[in-house]
C-alpha cells in the first residue's frame, strides 16, 4: 500500500459545509412537519392513578395526544439491548408509562401539534393523577434496599458478577502491607451540544418509512422499527445526518420518541418531528458514571501489588435497557496497564429512581482508572516511594504481549491486550511534563491507562469509482464529529491512488449501506476504517483486471496512482480510473467522451460474454471487517495544577497526554479527539455535577448550574504520540475516541491531593468540596 494520505494532517473535507451553516442536523428538516412534545413525570417514583388528555386533545393546533392506552405497542417493554446471564433482573421501561413512573422525566404522554409552541401548550394540559412512592436515589441507598425501585426486584439488584484470577484472599493474607479505600465516582452526563431529535415521514403510496434520527446507530433503529411496525426492513430507511455530538447516550435505543415520532407520522399522514430541549435532555437522556468502589490492596515493601480486591456497586438508574456493559468494562479495565497477579472484582448493578445509565465517553473506564491510580498513589504514600516509580514497578512490560488479563471483556471474550509499550508512555509523559513549577499549592497528577477499543462484531463499507473517476464510499456507522468523511477518504484514496478530495464518504444512512452496528466504544476507525480498506482493495484489484485487458499487461504489473491504472515503471502506459469505471459496465455508455474512450471497437476483441463469469458490472466492491479481538490503546496523562488556598479555584498549569493508538491516520483529527476528551474529563472532574435531592429531583438541569467548562477552564494539552501498531487489523490502527477522557479524573484527583495534602477519594470535586475536605482534614 502506498501511504500518501494515511498519516498526513489532512484538513477535514466536511468542514466547509458546516462552516457555511449548510450542515443538515435532524432538527433542520421540516417539510411542514408537525411537532411533538412529551408530558413527563415530575415525580421520581409514583403510581399513576389516572391520565386525562381531554383538555390537551382540545387545545389549539393539536393533531393527536398519545398515551400508552392509545398505542398498539403500549403494553410492551422496550427492548433490553445487551442481555447477560448475570443480569438476572433486567427491566426496561414502556414507551409511555401508564402504571408506575420510576424517574423524574419518564415519558407519560406524547402530543403532536402544528408547531412546538402549541405542542408545549397542550402538553401542559395533560392531567396525571400521581400517588407518590418512596424514592431510592443514591447507589448506597439502593444497596440498603429500604425501598424498592421495582417491586419484583429484591434488594434492587439488577445484576451481580464476580470474577477472579489467582487467589485474592490468600494473597491478601500473606501481603506485607494492605490498604483499604472507598472510592466514589458520581453520575455524569454527556451533554452533546445538539440534544436529541427525530423526524419521520411515511409515504403511503410506496409504503416506505423514512426516519432521520440523531442516533449513533441508524442500522439498529431501522431493524427495530421494521419489527415493531411489521414492515419489511427494506421498507424502512433510517438516516443519522449531521449529528451534533454523541459521546455515548445516542447509542442507546430505543428512546420513546424513536418509536412515537415514526408511529405518529404513519398515523397522521404528515411528517412529524420532535426536538428535545435542554431541560428534558437532562432528565430523559441516559446518564453515566455512578459507582462506589470498596478496594482492598496487598503489596510488598517495594510497592508491587500482589493482590487487588474491588467490590463495587453501580447505579443503573431506573432501568437497564443497555444491560450491564458499564460495570463489565470497569471490572475488566481496573487493573489497566498494571500486572496484578491476584485480582478479584465483584459488582452489583442496582436500581435507583434516577435516569437510566448507559455508556458516556469512557464508559466505565474513567472509574476503573480512578480506582487503580488512586490505589497506586495510596501505596506510594504508604511506602514513601515516588508516585511515578510505583507505577513503573507495576507496569506490564513490552515483552508480555499479547497479555491475557483473564477477565471477561465487553465482547464476551477475555480481555487480551494486543500490543503496547507502557513504560515508554510513562517516561515520555514525565519528560513532556517537565519540572514542577515553583510556588505553593502546586500538585502533580499522574495516570497511566489502557483503553479497549475497536470492539466487534463488524462493520462494512461499499466503495465505488464513478465514471467521472471520483469515488463515493459508504459505511453504516454515522459520524458525530469524529471526521469519518476525512479519515476514511484518506484510507480509500491511498488504495485507489486518487486525491483525497475526490473521495466522498457517506455514513450513517441505511439507504446507502444497510449493514453495520454503530459508532461507539472508539471503534469507527478500526472496524469501518478496515472495512473501507478491504472494499477499496477489491476495487483496486478489479480496476487492475479491467485495465490489464486494455493495456495487455499482467494485472500484477499494474499500480493505481494519480487517478490512473498504470504500468509499474512505465507511468505513461496508463488508463484513467474514469475510463476503467466506464469499461467496468459492458453497456459502456457515458456522457462527455467517456463512451469513446471505452468503446468496444477500440479495445482488443474479447472471447466469451462481455461480463465474465463471476464478475459484476461497475467498479465497486463491498468489504467487511470483523476483528478477532479488541485493540488496546494506551496512554499516560500528567498534569501540574495549582489550587487557590482561599477560593479553591483550580488552575491547570500544564496538562500532558502521551497516547498510543497504533498507526495514526490523521494527527489533526486525533489531537482534536484527545484535546476534546481532556476537556470533557476536566468538566467531569471539577465542574459538572448532577445534583439530585432526596425526592429524586435533578436540581440543576440547566447549563446555568451544570457547569460545562468554557475555554477559560480548559488548557491546551501538550500531546505526544507513540505508535505501537495493532497486530489485529491490516491498518494497524486502534481506537482513540475515549482516550482523552479516561484518566482525567484520576489525574486531577492525584494533583489536588498532592497540592492540598488531603486524601481525595471521590469524583467530581469542586471548590466547595475542596473547602470541606480541607476543613475536615487533620492539620
Amino acid at each position: 500500500m502506498t501511504t500518501r494520505w494515511f498519516g498526513a494532517p489532512v484538513q477535514r473535507l466536511e468542514d466547509e459545509r458546516l462552516l457555511r451553516g449548510r450542515g443538515r442536523y435532524t432538527d433542520d428538516l421540516d417539510e411542514r412537519a408537525l411537532h411533538g412534545c412529551f408530558a413527563r413525570s415530575p415525580y421520581a417514583h409514583a403510581r399513576i392513578r389516572s391520565i386525562d388528555v381531554q383538555a390537551a386533545r382540545g387545545a389549539p393546533g393539536v393533531h393527536a395526544v398519545y398515551t400508552a392506552a392509545d398505542l398498539p405497542f403500549g403494553d410492551r417493554d422496550l427492548p433490553l439491548l445487551i442481555p447477560h446471564p448475570a443480569l438476572t433482573h433486567g427491566r426496561t421501561q414502556r414507551c409511555l408509562a401508564s402504571e408506575v413512573v420510576r424517574y423524574a422525566g419518564e415519558a407519560v404522554a406524547f402530543v403532536v401539534a402544528d408547531d412546538r409552541y402549541l405542542a408545549e401548550d397542550a402538553a401542559e394540559l395533560v392531567e396525571v393523577d400521581y400517588e407518590p412512592l418512596p424514592v431510592v436515589i443514591t447507589p448506597e441507598a439502593a444497596a440498603e434496599a429500604r425501598h424498592l425501585v421495582h417491586e419484583d426486584v429484591p434488594g434492587n439488584v439488577a445484576a451481580q458478577l464476580t470474577q477472579q484470577i489467582g487467589d485474592v484472599e490468600a494473597a491478601l493474607a500473606e501481603a506485607p502491607r494492605t490498604l483499604s479505600l472507598r472510592l466514589r465516582y458520581e453520575r455524569g452526563a454527556a451533554q452533546p451540544m445538539e440534544a436529541r431529535a427525530v423526524w419521520a415521514r411515511w409515504d403511503p403510496g410506496e409504503r416506505r418509512l423514512l426516519v432521520y434520527d440523531s442516533t449513533q446507530s441508524p442500522t439498529s433503529i431501522r431493524g427495530g422499527l421494521a419489527v415493531l411496525f411489521g414492515l419489511p426492513e427494506t421498507s424502512v430507511d433510517v438516516v443519522a445526518p449531521d449529528v451534533g455530538g454523541g459521546f455515548g447516550p445516542k447509542i442507546m435505543l430505543f428512546y420513546p420518541d424513536e418509536l412515537l415520532v415514526p408511529y405518529s407520522a404513519m398515523q397522521l399522514g404528515r411528517p412529524v418531528k420532535w426536538t428535545e430541549d435542554r431541560a428534558e435532555h437532562f432528565l430523559a437522556v441516559n446518564h453515566e458514571r455512578g459507582q462506589v468502589h470498596d478496594v482492598r490492596v496487598g503489596f510488598d515493601a517495594d510497592g508491587r501489588v500482589v493482590a487487588l480486591d474491588v467490590d463495587f456497586i453501580h447505579d443503573a438508574g431506573a432501568y437497564t435497557p443497555y444491560g450491564i456493559i458499564l460495570p463489565i468494562i470497569t471490572a475488566a479495565q481496573t487493573t489497566g496497564p498494571y500486572s496484578v497477579p491476584n485480582y478479584r472484582t465483584r459488582f452489583r448493578a442496582l436500581y435507583t429512581n434516577a435516569t437510566p445509565t448507559s455508556p458516556y465517553r469512557g464508559a466505565g473506564r474513567p472509574h476503573a482508572c480512578f480506582v487503580m491510580e488512586r490505589t497506586l498513589d495510596a501505596i506510594a504514600a504508604d511506602r514513601g516511594i515516588d508516585r511515578a516509580e510505583v507505577r513503573r514497578r507495576n507496569l506490564i512490560q513490552p515483552d508480555q504481549f499479547p497479555y491475557d488479563t483473564g477477565i471477561a471483556w465487553q465482547d464476551g471474550n477475555r480481555a487480551v491486550y494486543d500490543s503496547g509499550n507502557y513504560p515508554a508512555l510513562l517516561d515520555e509523559g514525565l519528560r513532556l511534563l517537565g519540572p514542577r513549577p515553583v510556588g505553593d499549592n502546586v500538585g502533580l497528577g499522574l495516570a497511566v491507562y489502557v483503553e479497549g477499543t475497536g470492539v466487534g462484531p463488524y462493520e462494512g463499507a461499499h466503495v465505488q469509482v464513478l465514471v467521472s473517476g471520483k469515488v463515493v464510499a459508504a459505511t453504516g456507522i454515522p459520524s458525530q464529529g469524529q471526521g469519518h468523511a476525512t479519515v476514511m477518504a484518506q484510507i480509500v484514496a491511498d488504495v485507489l491512488g486518487v486525491e483525497v478530495a475526490d473521495v466522498q464518504i457517506h455514513s450513517g444512512d441505511t439507504r446507502r449501506f444497510q449493514w453495520g452496528v454503530g459508532t461507539f466504544a472508539s471503534r469507527g476507525a478500526v472496524t469501518a476504517g478496515n472495512a473501507m480498506h478491504a472494499a477499496a482493495l477489491q476495487v483496486a484489484d478489479k480496476a487492475k483486471r479491467i485495465a490489464s485487458e486494455q493495456l495487455e499487461v499482467d494485472p500484477q504489473d499494474l499500480e493505481l496512482a494519480d487517478g490512473k491504472v498504470r504500468v509499474r515503471g512505465v507511468p505513461e502506459r496508463a488508463v484513467p480510473l474514469a475510463a476503467v469505471a466506464i469499461l467496468s459496465n459492458p453497456l459502456r455508455y457515458a456522457f462527455g467522451g467517456g463512451a469513446e474512450i471505452a468503446t468496444q471497437f477500440q479495445a482488443p476483441p474479447r472471447l466469451g460474454p462481455p461480463l465474465a463469469g463471476g464478475e459484476q458490472p461497475g467498479l465497486e466492491a463491498t468489504g467487511f471487517f470483523s476483528p478477532s479481538g479488541s485493540t488496546w490503546a494506551s496512554g499516560c496523562h500528567a498534569a501540574y495544577v495549582r489550587v487557590d488556598p482561599r477560593t479553591y479555584r483550580l488552575e491547570i498549569l500544564r496538562y500532558v497526554v502521551v497516547h498510543d493508538c497504533g498507526r495514526v491516520i490523521n494527527p489533526l483529527v486525533l489531537e482534536g479527539q484527545i484535546q476534546g476528551g481532556v476537556a470533557q474529563g476536566i468538566g467531569g472532574a471539577f465542574y459538572e455535577r448532577l445534583v439530585y435531592d432526596d425526592d429524586g429531583q435533578l436540581r440543576n438541569a440547566s447549563f446555568m448550574e451544570f457547569l460545562i467548562p468554557y475555554a477559560t477552564e480548559v488548557p491546551d494539552a501538550v500531546i505526544g504520540h507513540l505508535e505501537t501498531p495493532s497486530p489485529l487489523n491490516p491498518l494497524g490502527v486502534k481506537g482513540a475516541g475515549e482516550a482523552g477522557v479516561i484518566p482525567v479524573g484520576a489525574v486531577i484527583a492525584s494533583a489536588i491531593e498532592d497540592a492540598l495534602g488531603v486524601p481525595v477519594r471521590e469524583m467530581p470535586l469542586s471548590p466547595q468540596r475542596l473547602f470541606d475536605l480541607k476543613a475536615r482534614s487533620p492539620r
Partner: protein, 178 residues
Amino acid sequence: MRVNGINRPAPSIPRRLLSDYLRGECGLTGTHVGCEHGVCGCCTVLLDGRAVRSCLMLAIQAEGHEVTTVEGLAPDGSALHPVQLAFKECHGLQCGFCTPGFVMAITGLLNENPNPTPQEIEEGIAGNLCRCTGYASIRRAVHRAVDLMQQAPSPPSGDTPPPPASPGTPPAARQRDI
C-alpha cells in the same frame, strides 16, 4: 427586519423567538439552538454587527434591525469568510453544531476589536460552549482569523455593520423583498 441583507416579513406569531424565526420562518438553519437559555451560544447571530443570542430575543425585538446569520457571512459560491477559513485550517470544529455560534461571536468580537490580545480572545470565546474540541483549536483559529483579516484589508460582507436601513434610500443592490 433585514436578515442577511434581505427584508423579511414579521414573525407569524408574536412569541416566536428570534432563533426559531430564523430557522423556521427564514429557513436559515445554520443558526443552532443548543440550550434555549442563553448559556451555550450556539444561536449567536449579529444584530447590527454585534453578537447576540437569538434564543434570548423575540423575533419582533429585531424589527428595524439588521440580522446577520452564519449564512450571511460568505454567500454560497464565494470564498469563506476569514473566520470560517481559520476554523477550517485549524480544525476548529468537530460535530459543527456549536460552530456557527462561535464563528458569529468571533466575527462580532473582531468587528469591535480587530487586534485582540490573547486574553481578550480568551474572554471573547468564553461565552460559547463546545463539547467536542476542548477549545485549543478554536483559540488557534481566532489567532489565525486575526492574521487573515489583517492580510485582507477589506473584509468580506457580513463583517461590518451595514448602513441602517432608511426608507427611500435602500442600498438597492442587496435589498430584496420576500
